[in-house]
């Protein structure tokens, strides 16, 4: 005796077929709930599905007549990260699904089944057919526990691997076809097309013109299902008068008149002919009343890509099984080419991003001085290193003549090419400004006026600190546009002093004002200008490196009379030690000056 219920499980989907018996319903439900648990549905979701299925399956058993009793009830389950879908195929005479499903009177002993199904599932549709009916149930899932995000970004290698896998499938498919169908020539002719810049619609049109000739159809309509589902969008048809309007899926309990939507929902071929004519309300029925044909759902694996309708005008014989096989092959080919086109698009995007990052990296590198000038015994050293992405940090040292230097350190808020471009523009602006006895505050006012419009147009801003150092008088003049304060430690001092006159970042206010703060570089003094990546470095406990620690470090090194070279190496090492990792968390940019 054949064991019952019969089961086939391919990982994502489960098929269970059972005899018309309530005890068998229970056994089938046990198999299905185990499958759902394997797919990590929550207890609540499993309970809801089990109850809705029990109602559907019990009805399939209860209302089956003598002829239908010989047939098995079949339940198909498809489980994805987003939803679980059930198809219950029964052989009852069927019934009219009520326009509105509500609870019966309080003490009525029957009539709660439909209510439970519609309450527990997001979508419920009932399709009556000639030999069987299909109850279609969908339950949306919450976030799958412990599973990876489905929208993760795939690496270029992964995408290439998928293209090569898909190419292999196309090759296998073509080989198989060569023995059976005249469609081989068409498939080969078109397989090169998709890579030649032809659009999806052009590609499909050329392929489907061949298909209708091969299977002797009169017309076709191809619609695609977006990833969000719920609607079939027109792509291409053999005749211009087919509706190019999208066809929406009905709301739960709503009526569906479209055979295309029906095929998409039940994920099976739906036939129409004189026995089951197209309704006048059906978008197809309006154009082709009395036609016969089939709606074939197009899949890539388990993913429904769309529907293909192939029709014949009045009084024509239906398609044969062989012709239907050709339709299946062409559809698989179409689906795989569409998916490949999507992958190519993603690959091009990721290549563009890589290219953009390369350009930005190049710009940033070009901004960094290989050798810093010195003046009257003032020594300078700089460091600029980006974390994961290309940042907008940079520093510059400009010789103004007469032993004077202009030091600029800036952080453009943003990443990639735009940030690198603004860094380059700012650097050129400062380099083009008058040299000599300059006031940093005046330079910032000018730079802000020149850049304000461009920066605010793209919602970006720049924090900058400008320091003017006179090597002769050892005077220091500092102006600041929202940047971290520079720290200066006198030779014998235990503390570092912050140089932080107030000022808004560039690009925030068109007529922003800036002021200068003055200080003297005592013999042996050290100055540190830096970007916020330094003070915002965190250790594993989450503590910030902070201004205080940075100030203490500078004071200690100044007291010890460390050279700028050793201070640079020690500061990098100190930050690495603090965060207990040599992987940069943020950009690290600083300038050290020894007086």
């Amino acid at each position: 005796m054949v064991p019952s219920p019969l089961q086939t499980n391919d990982g994502h989907s489960l098929d269970v077929a059972f005899r018309c018996d309530y005890a068998e319903v229970r056994l089938a439900l046990e198999a299905i709930t185990s499958f759902l648990r394997l797919h990590r549905l929550t207890d609540d979701e499993v309970m809801g599905c089990e109850l809705a299925l029990a109602e559907g399956c019990n009805n399939a058993v209860r209302y089956t007549d003598a002829a239908g009793r010989e047939e098995r009830v079949r339940v198909r389950v498809l489980c994805t990260d987003a939803r679980v879908t059930f198809w219950i195929h029964d052989h009852t005479p069927g019934f009219e699904w009520p326009a509105e499903v509500s609870l019966p009177e309080g003490d009525s002993e029957n009539g709660r089944g439909l209510f439970l199904m519609t309450s527990l599932m997001e979508e419920v549709h009932y399709f009556r057919g000639r030999h069987e009916n299909i109850l279609y149930l969908v339950r949306t899932r919450g976030a799958p526990a412990g599973s990876e995000r489905s929208d993760r970004v795939e690496s270029a290698d992964e995408l290439r691997r998928r293209i090569s896998e898909n190419d292999q499938i196309i090759t296998d498919m073509a080989e198989e076809l060569s023995f059976c169908y005249e469609s081989l020539a068409a498939i080969f002719r078109h397989s090169a097309d998709q890579g030649n810049g032809s659009t999806k619609a052009d590609f499909a049109r050329r392929l489907l013109i061949d298909l209708i000739q091969i299977i002797a159809a009169d017309w076709y309509v191809l619609r695609l299902l977006p990833e969000s589902g719920g609607v079939l969008n027109f792509l291409v048809a053999s005749e211009t008068f087919f509706s190019d309007q999208p066809i929406n899926f009905p709301k739960a309990g709503g009526t569906n008149n479209s055979v295309e939507v029906e095929a998409a929902i039940v994920r099976q071929n739906v036939w129409f002919d004189q026995h089951r004519p197209l309704l006048l309300e059906d978008p197809l029925g309006r154009i082709k009343p009395g036609a016969s044909g089939v709606v074939h759902p197009i899949f890539f694996g388990e993913r429904l890509m769309g529907t293909l309708v192939l029709g014949r005008n009045l009084n024509r014989i239906p398609f044969t099984a062989g012709q239907l096989n050709v339709v299946g092959t062409f559809s698989d080919f179409l689906a795989i080419q569409f998916v490949n086109a999507e992958i190519q698009e993603t690959l091009i995007h990721s290549k563009l991003n890589e290219r953009e990052l390369d350009i930005a990296r190049g710009i940033q590198q070009s901004l960094i001085l290989r050798e810093l000038p010195s003046a009257h015994g003032i020594e300078l050293i700089g460091h600029c290193e980006s974390a994961r992405q290309v940042g907008g940090d940079f520093y510059d040292v400009i010789e103004c003549g007469g032993g004077q230097l202009l030091l600029v350190i800036a952080d453009v808020m943003g990443k990639g090419v735009p940030a690198a471009m603004f860094a380059a523009i700012l650097r050129s602006l400062f380099r083009a400004m008058p040299r000599g006895e300059v006031r940093p505050s005046q330079l910032l006012i000018q730079a802000n006026r020149l850049l304000y419009r461009d920066l605010s147009a793209v919602d970006m801003f720049i924090t900058v600190q400008v320091l003017h150092v006179d090597g002769v008088t050892r005077r220091l003049r500092v102006a600041n546009a929202g940047h971290c304060p520079a720290l200066v430690a006198a030779g014998g001092s235990a503390l570092a002093q912050a140089l932080a006159p107030e000022g808004l970042p560039l690009g925030v206010l068109e007529d922003a004002e800036y002021s200068d703060q003055e200080a003297t570089l005592t013999p042996g003094a050290r100055l540190l200008a830096y970007t916020d990546g330094l003070v915002e470095t965190r250790n594993p406990a989450g503590d910030l490196f902070g201004y205080e620690r940075l100030g203490e470090w500078l004071a200690t090194k100044t007291r010890n009379g460390s050279s700028v070279q050793s201070m640079k190496q020690e500061l990098i090492a100190e930050l690495t030690r603090f965060q207990r990792s040599d992987v940069l968390q943020d950009d690290q940019t600083f300038l050290i000056l020894a007086g």
Binding site: L51, L103, L116
Partner: protein
């Protein structure tokens, strides 16, 4: 399923799932076990893991039996999922649902 009798009450306990495969039998067994003097039915749902619309129908049939005797059906200690189904179908408005 087990049944015991106290005063005017039939107590039903150790009840597993209640569905299309056993609800009619359940209803008939409880009715048959009721003595003439009994007008209350207490159903312990603490071990009940599954309840569908057929099970609900059987409970309502028993509710009608007790009403004709001026009594009622009391549902005791339903598990949270079963409680959820009772509330969804508004059965908690018909039955006395108690936690002990």
């Amino acid at each position: 399923m087990k049944v015991q009798h106290t005063d005017e009450t039939v107590e039903v306990y150790d009840l597993g799932g209640l569905d299309a495969s056993n609800s009619v039998q359940f209803r008939d067994q409880v009715r048959a076990s009721m003595k003439a003097s009994e007008r209350f039915i207490e159903i312990d749902l603490s071990a009940t893991t599954f309840l569908d619309s057929n099970g609900l129908g059987a409970l309502i049939a028993l509710h009608k039996t007790t009403c004709s005797r001026n009594g009622l059906v009391r549902l005791v200690n339903p598990t949270p999922p079963i409680q959820q189904i009772l509330e969804l179908t508004r059965m908690h408005r018909i039955f006395e649902v108690v936690k002990r």
